[in-house]
Every structure is written in C-alpha cells, then in structure tokens.
Symmetry: C2
Subunit: 256 residues, 2 copies
DNA sequence: GGGGATCGTTCCACTCACCGGTACGCTCCT
DNA sequence: AGGAGCGTACCGGTGAGTGGAACGATCCCC
C-alpha cells in the first residue's frame, strides 16, 4: 500500500524507520500507531518499536493522538546544505520582491521530476495558494516548473514530456507539444507564465536563477489571483530578483 | 567524542544513523567519511555502511568531498507539524514587522534550555546576526530567550538560573540574580531587551506569543546594530506582531 | 621516485539486536 | 455483556548488522 516516494528496503531497521517518517505528510501531521501500520504496511509490533525508538532519538514526538514529526527533525532539515545556503542567499531578494509587489513570492528548486518549494512569502489576505514550503508540484503546470524544465538538459525535457502529464485543473496543459512550445517561449522571454494550470484562480510568473554556466539552480515566482493580478506587470521585478540572486550564487562558485 | 545533543544508544543501527546525521552542523555541512568517523566515534566500517544506507534512503547526498544532508531531509523537516504550522501562521506578521522596521526579524521557540529559531528575515545589508533558522541559542542571553524564560513555569526558570550561564560576550549577564531581575522587568514591560549579550554590536527587543492560557508558544524579536538602532523604538511594533499572532494561535485551540 | 600517511572500499565470520506472531488490557462503542 | 479497535508486553529464533583486518588509490614530503 501507499508506496512512499523513496520506497525503502523494508528488510532493515533503517528502511523501516524511513518508511515511518515518510508516512507523515504535510496534511497528516499527526498519525496514530494504527495509521502508521496501515500506511507503511509493516507489522504492528515493528512500527511500535521503531516509532518508540524514533521518539527516543527525538525525530518523532508523542502526542495524545499518536505521533508527529518533531522539532528536532525541523532543525536537522534546516541544516541541509543546498537548500539552506540557497535560502539564506535568496531571502533578501525574495523580501525585496515581495515588498515591491505585495504578492505571494516563491523560491523553488527541481528535485527529480518535480518542483520543491524552498521558500514562500505569502502576505496577509492573499489568495491562498496551495503550495507549501517543502512541498512538491509537477514541473509542467507551474511557472517555476516550466522555467526549471526550459533551462534543463534536453534529456530531462524529453523525459518529462514523454511521460504522463498530470491534469490539475481544466486549464492544465497536458499536450506535450504545447508544453514544449511554452518552454521555448520561456527561454525566448526569459520568464515563464502559468494561468490557472495548477490551481484555479491563480496566475504566476517565474524567472530562472542561473549559475555561471547558465544552469538553472532554482527559480523565483510571483503569484496572484486572476482579475486584479496580471502576471505581465511583474516580469521585470521577477527577472531582476532572479538575476540578482543568480550572479550572487555564481560568485560563490556554485552552491557548496 | 563530541557527544551529540541526543546522545544516542550506539547499540542500534538507528542510534548510529541518528548520530551520523547529528554529526552535521550548520557550519560543517559537508563531511568526509573520516570526519564522520571522528565525530561519531563509531567504527569506520559501520559509518561507511550506514552512510551508504542513508544515501540510499535519500537522507544524505554524496559529494566530491564526502556526504551532506540531503534535500529530502529538508522536505521532511518542513513537515514537522508544530514548527510548520507556527511558521505559516506567523509569516504575515513577521513580514509586516519587517516592512515596518526594516530590521532583522526573528521567530523563536523554546526547546529544552535553548531557543530554536524557526524563522528569520534579514534584509539586505543588515549587520549580520549569527543566528540561523533552525539554529540554537542559550535562553539567558537573547531577547527571545528571556521572553520565553520569563513567561515559562517557575520550574524552568529556577532550573536555568541555577545552572551555568554561559558567557558569550563581555556584556553577557551571567549573574543569576541580574537575569532574574531582567525576567521580572520583562513581564512588567511585556517585552525583553538584549544589549550585545549574545553577539557584539547587536541589540534586540522581543515580545511573547501567548496562547489562550498565557503560556508562551514562541517569541518574536527585532534586531539591529548598536548605534543607529535603538530597541526601545520598536517595542510597540514587536508587541503588536506578537499579540496578533498570539490571538490567531489561540483561536486555533493551541497549535495542533 | 619511493616510502609513509590518509582515506575509501571490500571481505568475512560471529553474534546480538531485531523480528513478528501471539497474547493481554484498556477504552469506546453498540 | 460483548465486540471492535487500539496500544502495550512478552519471547524464542535468526539473519541483519557488526567491526577487525586487509587492500588499493591518492597525495605529499623527504
């Protein structure tokens, strides 16, 4: 059941422990022992023992209802070098961008065939975008994803376009040809757009953060609600932020 | 050597794996096998095998120089419920506070006898504060720490004050009596101050985020360089942000 | 250019930590 | 009262994990 992203080797303690950790998602942050058993498919006793150990090692917390990922794990995750260096370098630019636009700002990197959001600035009373820091989204239906894909190796582009393109909304572009068109247009324009393709009611512009070799390290986007928000108005601001961060990153000789 | 915070039971794979993960710090984000062996005190072969497994499970990445904490760990950490819920609720307030002051803004929670920073907004060209998201600081020498300690149970306050108070700068207050004085003053004033007690050249004001039962969930602070920056000027802004967040959190029936 | 130090990797036989079925006690339901 | 669902505890068998020893590859200094 419910194969975790990193479908681990269940023959080792470590594998089982990782499976338990991966059973938690952004939405289900609190799971009972029974729920963990169901999600991992592991024997109850094993989950019981392992979860207990994880609590002992401060990777899980006990709660009235069961277990949840602990603050220790948060600390550990914040030490992940690439994401954290990027985040620290990027914050001032994201900050400026938000202040200039007062719209939701994202920073994302590519992980496999998906976008992982490394930072999100959503001010008060914004149209709620479903993205979350640390969350994932498909590459083909988000502005950040398109940017990351457009500047990526041809291999990856081909790989993604030949695979299934998940439909998220009625506006999601699922025809490989049309996605390819958009990727080309993105390179041409230096930015990519998204119009209600990942979530209804939201539009988006994104620009790539390129290193010294013009490889895409990350992407920055501005998101707003259809109607008041016109992504074209923010092209220059996003591009400026992404380029600023890019040159800063390049100066640091790739993200160490 | 170098006992990790959660000095783990080294008799189990899991314990060893956790020890390996904890060997990485914010500063040493990239460690060779030999370095891991030295820091964990584990046999070389064991570290080799376990690190390999951790790479397989996407908790570590291989690099030219050795290993580092992976993006997968970042994602996992971002799912830690308390920190992430708090972070999402707090961001708009931190955002506003930064825009109002244009000084470095922190959000911190207490973990044991230390502060853990959950969020940091450091604008361009600020005096670099040594804090980092996910990093720790002692309670007695930071504004956030004083706030968290002042509103905490008497048990904790006694516990911390009777323990050794680490000196961080010439200005660090290490006399238990004087710290206690400041805690009382903090409750009186609704905010706590710090004047170069954790890092030279920096001053700070912090206010508590209280839940419905007046228990401190977290604290918010504004930090700036001595000279231009006068913490007293920002008392109202910090207090407003913290209270706003507090009522929001209280409405959600404690952080689930 | 050879010898020594350092580092990552492979091999292997022992053994103990892990395994998971079974059973128990508790709290809600019906 | 009975039954379902859950968390906890017990326990003997066994294979995953163990770590010492030995190997090859770099690098650097004499």
């Amino acid at each position: 059941m419910a194969t975790t992203p990193t479908d681990p080797d269940l023959g080792s303690v470590l594998g089982k422990a990782v499976a338990v950790l991966h059973a938690f998602t952004v939405d289900d942050h609190e799971l009972s022992l029974a729920a963990l058993v169901e999600r991992t498919g592991l024997p109850k006793t094993s989950v019981y023992r392992i979860a207990g150990d994880l609590v002992r090692y401060r990777l899980l917390d006990r709660t009235a209802l069961g277990y949840r990922l602990s603050g220790g794990l948060f600390e550990l995750g914040m030490r992940a070098s690439v994401e954290r260096s990027l985040l620290e370098l990027a914050m001032p630019y994201l900050q400026d961008l938000y202040e200039r636009t007062h719209e939701t700002v994202h920073l994302g990197v590519r992980e496999g065939r998906e976008v992982v959001y490394v930072a999100k600035i959503a001010g008060r009373g914004q149209a709620a975008s479903p993205s979350r820091t640390g969350g994932r989204m498909p590459l083909h239906c988000t502005a950040i994803g398109k940017v990351l894909l457009a500047w990526a190796d041809d291999d990856l582009r081909r790989d993604v376009l030949t695979g299934p393109l998940e439909r998220r909304t009625p506006h999601t572009i699922v025809a490989p040809g049309r996605v390819a068109q958009q990727l080309d247009a993105a390179i041409e324009a230096g930015v990519a757009f998204e119009r209600e393709e990942s979530a209804l009611g939201l539009q988006c512009v994104a620009a790539p953060v390129l290193d010294a070799d013009d490889r895409p390290i990350a992407a920055i986007s501005v998101t707003g609600p259809v109607g008041r928000f016109r992504p074209e108005q923010h092209v220059d601001a996003v591009r400026a932020a992404a380029q600023g961060l890019g040159t800063l990153v390049a100066r640091r000789r790739s993200l160490h």
